[in-house]
C-alpha cells in the first residue's frame, strides 16, 4: 500500500519551511532528489563506526568497509536487472560515466566514424562526443525530435549506416519526460554492430529498467537523482567490452602490477576505479536502493504518473502556457492553426498515455513556458511561496533551440510529493503569471485574433 504521508516522515527536509513560514514544496526532483533519513544515517554510521580505506587494509575496519562497498555493486545490478556478464563501475556522477565511455570507446574510433545521439540529450551526452569529435575527427549526428516530442525513429533508421559505431540515447528526457524505445534503438544499432549506450539518469529513479532486456551495451545513471548522496555515478556494461577498453584514469587500485618500466591493469570493474572511491556515499547509495525497493519502483512509477496527470489536467486550462510534454500534445491539425509565439490553452487536447501501445513517458516532470513571463521570473515568484521549481535551459541548449525558447520552467515530481503540493504549485503559478502578464497576454491574444 502506497502511503505518501508515511513516506514523507522518512524525509526530514520535507518538514522545513522556506522564506520564514512557507512549507517547502520541492518540485525540482529531476535536478536532484531529497535523501531519506536512512541514507543520511548510513553516512554518519560509516564515519562513526567503520571508516577505512577499502581493498588494501587487512584490518577489521577495512574489511567491513570493503564488504559494504562491494555489496552495493550487487544491489545496483539487481535493481536494473543486469546479468553476470555485466560489470558495475562507480564514478562521480552520470556525466563522468559518459565521459569515461566517450574517452575509452573513442580510442578505437577512426576518422569518418559516426556517433549518433538525439536532439533531446542532456549536455552530458553531447559534450563528451564533441570532445571526441575534436580529438578523432569523427562525426556526431542527431536523431530529430518530432512535434509530438518523441524521437523520430524513421529518421534514426536512415541515420544508422556502416559508419555508425556508437548510438548513445537518453531513455527518458530530462526536459520532455519522453521515454524512448531503447529496445527498438538497440535493434537498429545492432544491425551495423554499433555500441549502444543508454543515459538512464532520469529513468532508473522513476521506472523499472530491465537492462538485460534492452539490448544495450552500457547504461549510466546517478545516485543523487534516486535518493542517494551526490558524488556517486554508475556505469554498468558488458564486462567483455570493458576488458577491451583502455583504462580511463591511472593510479592506485586500477593496477595489478607496476614496475619501473610499465604497469598492468587490474580486473574490471576496479580497472576503472582509480584512487580511493567515494566509499561512504556508495554505501549510502546502496541504502537508497534498498529504500526504493522497499517502496517498489512500479508503485513509484504509477504514483508519479497519477501526480503528473493531475497536474497536467490543471495546467492545460491555463491560457498562454506552453507545455512541452508528450502526454499533452496537440493533434497535427491543432498545431497548424497555432500562430508562432501565441500559444493557447489546451481545451481540445486529450491526455494520452500511450502511443502505438508503447509507454510514451511524460510522467514525473512537466516543462512549460509562457511567451511573456520569463522562466526565471516565474521560478523566483513561486519560490517566494515555498515552491521549488527549475528555470533555465536544463543543460539541454540544443533542445531549447529546437523548442524555440532559450529557457523554460520545469516542475518535477518524486514519490514523496502530494496532490496538495500540486494544488499549491498551481495556485502560485497562477499568481506568478498574473503578477506580470495580464496586460501583455491580452495584447497577444488580440494580435492572434483569438481573443
Amino acid at each position: 500500500m502506497f502511503d505518501v504521508k508515511k513516506i514523507r516522515k522518512d524525509f526530514k527536509i520535507l518538514n522545513r519551511e522556506v522564506w520564514d513560514d512557507k512549507p517547502l514544496v520541492y518540485l525540482d526532483n529531476a535536478a536532484t532528489t531529497q535523501k531519506p533519513n536512512c541514507v543520511i544515517d548510513s553516512i554518519v554510521n560509516y564515519y562513526e563506526n567503520y571508516n577505512a580505506n577499502i581493498h588494501r587494509g587487512v584490518h577489521k575496519l577495512a574489511e567491513e568497509a570493503t564488504v559494504a562497498y562491494e555489496n552495493v555493486r550487487e544491489k545496483v545490478s539487481r535493481f536494473i536487472n543486469a546479468s553476470d556478464e555485466d560489470a558495475v563501475i562507480f564514478t562521480r556522477n552520470a556525466t563522468e560515466s559518459m565521459n569515461l565511455l566517450a574517452f575509452c570507446l573513442g580510442e578505437s574510433l577512426k576518422e569518418g566514424d559516426e556517433v549518433i545521439i538525439s536532439e533531446m540529450e542532456h549536455h552530458a551526452n553531447i559534450i563528451p562526443w564533441y570532445l571526441l569529435r575534436d580529438r578523432k575527427k569523427i562525426t556526431v549526428k542527431f536523431v530529430p525530435v518530432t512535434e509530438k516530442y518523441e524521437l523520430d525513429y524513421e529518421a534514426l533508421e536512415k541515420l544508422i549506416t556502416n559508419k555508425t559505431k556508437i548510438v548513445s540515447i537518453t531513455q527518458k528526457s530530462n526536459v520532455l519526460g519522453t521515454v524512448n524505445d531503447i529496445k527498438k534503438i538497440s535493434k537498429l544499432a545492432k544491425l551495423v554492430d554499433a555500441i549502444v549506450i543508454v543515459d538512464a539518469a532520469q529513468s532508473v529513479p522513476h521506472m523499472k529498467v530491465d537492462f538485460s532486456n534492452l539490448g544495450a551495451d552500457f547504461i549510466v545513471f546517478s545516485s543523487h537523482k534516486m535518493c542517494g548522496p551526490t558524488g556517486v555515478g554508475v556505469l554498468v556494461g558488458k564486462k567483455e567490452l570493458f576488458e577491451k577498453m583502455p583504462p580511463y584514469m591511472g593510479g592506485g587500485e586500477m593496477i595489478r602490477k607496476v614496475t619501473f618500466e610499465d604497469f598492468t591493469c587490474n580486473d574490471v570493474p576496479w580497472k576503472f576505479e582509480a584512487g580511493t572511491p567515494n566509499i561512504a556515499d556508495v554505501i549510502a547509495f546502496g541504502v537508497a536502493i534498498d529504500y526504493l525497493e522497499k517502496i517498489g519502483i512500479e508503485d513509484i512509477y504509477e504514483y508519479e504518473k497519477e501526480l503528473t496527470l493531475y497536474a497536467l489536467e490543471k495546467m492545460k486550462k491555463f491560457e498562454f502556457l506552453k507545455i512541452y510534454n508528450p502526454l499533452l500534445c496537440h493533434s497535427r491539425l491543432d498545431r497548424e492553426s497555432i500562430k508562432p509565439l501565441v500559444l493557447d490553452s489546451h481545451p481540445q487536447s486529450q491526455l494520452r498515455t500511450s502511443f502505438h501501445g508503447n509507454d510514451i513517458g511524460g510522467s514525473g516532470l512537466i516543462t512549460f513556458s509562457n511567451p511573456v513571463v520569463h522562466p526565471h521570473d516565474i521560478a523566483t515568484i513561486v519560490d517566494q511561496y515555498g515552491v521549488a521549481i527549475r528555470a533555465g535551459h536544463h543543460c539541454a541548449q540544443p533542445l531549447m533551440k529546437k523548442l524555440g525558447v532559450s529557457s523554460t520552467c520545469r516542475a518535477s515530481f518524486y514519490f514523496y510529493n502530494t496532490k496538495e503540493e500540486i494544488d499549491i504549485f498551481i495556485n502560485v503559478l497562477k499568481k506568478a503569471l498574473e503578477y506580470f502578464e495580464i496586460g501583455a497576454c491580452k495584447n497577444l491574444k488580440q494580435v492572434s485574433g483569438k481573443g
Binding site: H374, I381, Q384, G392, I424
Partner: protein
C-alpha cells in the same frame, strides 16, 4: 497547507519587482535601432541561456544612443533599459563610472565613486536574490565588453 498560504504577503517579492522594474520591463528603453553602430558586444548568461546584444552609437566620446536586443527576464531587461536610459548623452568615461557603481552595488561593496543614481536605485532589491544578480549584471558586463572593443562575453 492548501491555498491559504498563497495569500500571505511576500515583502521580498515587492522589493525585487519594484514598480519601476516592471515598468522598464513592460516598456524597455533602447529598443530602437541605431543609425550607426560604433561599439557592440554580445552577452550571454550561461545560467539561463539568456542572450543580449548591445550596441553604442558614439560621437566625440559621447554615447548618443544605446541599443539593446535579445530576450531576458524582467530583471535583466529592466537593468538594460535603465542602462540605455541613463547612459544616453553620457561620455564613455562617465559610462565606466556607472559600470563600476553598478558592479559595486551588486557585489555589495562600498561605493568608491558617486553617480546620479536615478532608476538604478531599484536594482538594490536584487541583492537579496543572489541567483538573480547575474541577470541584473548581464547588460552591464556586455557594456563593459563593448567599450573594451570585445565582441562576445559570458558572465561567470
Amino acid at each position: 497547507m492548501g491555498t491559504a498560504m498563497v495569500d500571505k504577503s511576500t515583502p521580498q517579492l515587492d522589493e525585487l519587482y519594484k514598480e519601476i522594474i516592471l515598468e522598464h520591463y513592460r516598456h524597455p528603453c533602447g529598443r530602437e535601432p541605431l543609425e550607426r553602430v560604433d561599439l557592440e558586444a554580445d552577452g550571454m548568461n550561461p545560467l539561463c541561456g539568456d542572450e543580449v546584444k548591445l550596441g553604442l552609437q558614439v560621437k566625440n566620446n559621447v554615447i548618443e544612443k544605446v541599443h539593446l536586443e535579445g530576450h531576458g527576464c524582467s530583471i535583466s531587461t529592466a537593468s538594460g533599459s535603465i542602462l540605455a536610459d541613463i547612459l544616453k548623452g553620457k561620455t564613455l568615461e562617465e559610462a565606466k563610472k556607472y559600470l563600476t557603481y553598478v558592479k559595486e552595488t551588486m557585489h555589495n561593496k562600498p561605493h568608491s565613486i558617486d553617480v546620479e543614481e536615478g532608476d538604478l536605485e531599484v536594482l538594490e532589491g536584487v541583492k537579496k536574490f543572489p541567483v538573480r544578480i547575474k541577470c541584473a549584471l548581464l547588460p552591464w558586463t556586455t557594456l563593459e565588453e563593448a567599450m573594451a572593443g570585445h565582441k562576445h562575453v559570458e558572465i561567470s
